[in-house]
């Protein structure tokens, strides 16, 4: 547990670094004497953006996220397995092989259906 506390100490530093930089910037930042309504307009190559940016994306994007998540689950199960190989030996490998192969079936299906295309 001590190591985790030490890690917490490190994270505290990781918070301090960006915050201190932002505070420094806050102290030194200038303000414009005269402001224009153009200044805070959204930049789009000098044009007025047509419609907001927060709009709907195409469902194709979702398929990528989906397959990511399912393989993420697999990776999570791999970690405890990876540590137990030496102890459990062949059994562990066969077990995981089945697990992986079943998931690879899904991968093959996704590949054939073109779900992994990103455009």
């Amino acid at each position: 547990m001590d190591q985790w506390v030490a890690a917490a100490g490190f994270v505290a530093v990781a918070i301090i670094v960006p915050v201190s930089m932002l505070v420094g910037a806050k102290l030194l930042a200038v303000t414009a004497k005269s402001s224009s309504k153009l200044k805070t307009m959204t930049y789009e190559c000098g044009e007025e953006p047509e419609g907001g940016a927060w709009l709907q994306f195409h469902p194709r994007y979702y398929l990528v996220a989906l397959i990511f998540v399912l393989f993420d689950i697999e990776a999570v199960f791999l970690f405890p397995w990876a540590l137990a190989i030496e102890e459990l030996g062949g059994l562990a490998i066969v077990d995981m092989l089945i697990f992986v192969l079943v998931l690879l079936l899904g991968w093959g299906y996704a590949l054939r259906k073109g779900a992994l295309k990103w455009q």
Binding site: W4, W54, L63, V69, D72, V76, I98, V102, L103
Partner: protein, 177 residues
């Protein structure tokens, strides 16, 4: 002392996050508040002696679910809808129901004679791996089948939600299919 202080602070932030999750008008904000709740829960797991679970929570739960949710929001939002309305007619019954449930549960918790809080060493990932591969092997393998089913199901659903035609063919026809 320090531990309970941290615990209470954590609990307060988790509850605050949870309130924002269910009350935020902007869905993206709600999702990000859920991310806060999940990350803080990971810290809670650490305090409960489950470091591996904390890692899983961060890697899988936060990384995966939040990504999915963000994509879900981005894919189902039209730009004239900025926020999602909380149905005001349901707010009162909802709050009452939730409060009632909480009251009942709190009552039960206070009345139950809980055993003493055992102090335990953190569970290592190795032990969990051993449990997976011996005691819970069947569940482990069945899970893979379930994930396969989920993947195929979601792909089928996802592809149905696609256009009938690929866009490449649609714009060439110059009209909607």
């Amino acid at each position: 002392m320090t531990e309970s202080l941290i615990f209470f602070a954590l609990a307060a932030f988790i509850l605050l996050g949870a309130v924002r999750v269910v009350a935020s008008r902007d869905l993206v904000h709600a999702v990000l508040w859920l991310a806060v709740v999940l990350v803080l829960t990971a810290v809670m797991f650490l305090m409960l002696g489950a470091p591996f679970l904390a890692g899983v929570q961060l890697l899988l739960y936060t990384g995966g679910v939040i990504t999915l949710m963000l994509f879900g929001v981005m894919l189902t939002r039209r730009h004239h809808e900025i926020g999602v309305e909380v149905d005001s007619s349901r707010r009162l019954p909802g709050a009452l129901g939730a409060l009632a449930l909480f009251g009942a549960m709190a009552c039960a918790i206070f009345r139950t004679d809980l055993p003493a809080w055992p102090s335990s060493a953190p569970v290592s990932a190795l032990e969990i791996g051993r449990a997976f591969l011996t005691d819970h092997l069947i569940a482990f393998e069945v899970l893979s089948i379930l994930l396969l089913a989920a993947m195929i199901g979601a792909i089928v659903l996802g592809r149905q939600s696609d256009f009938g035609d690929e866009p490449e063919t649609v714009y060439r026809k110059g009209g909607r299919p």
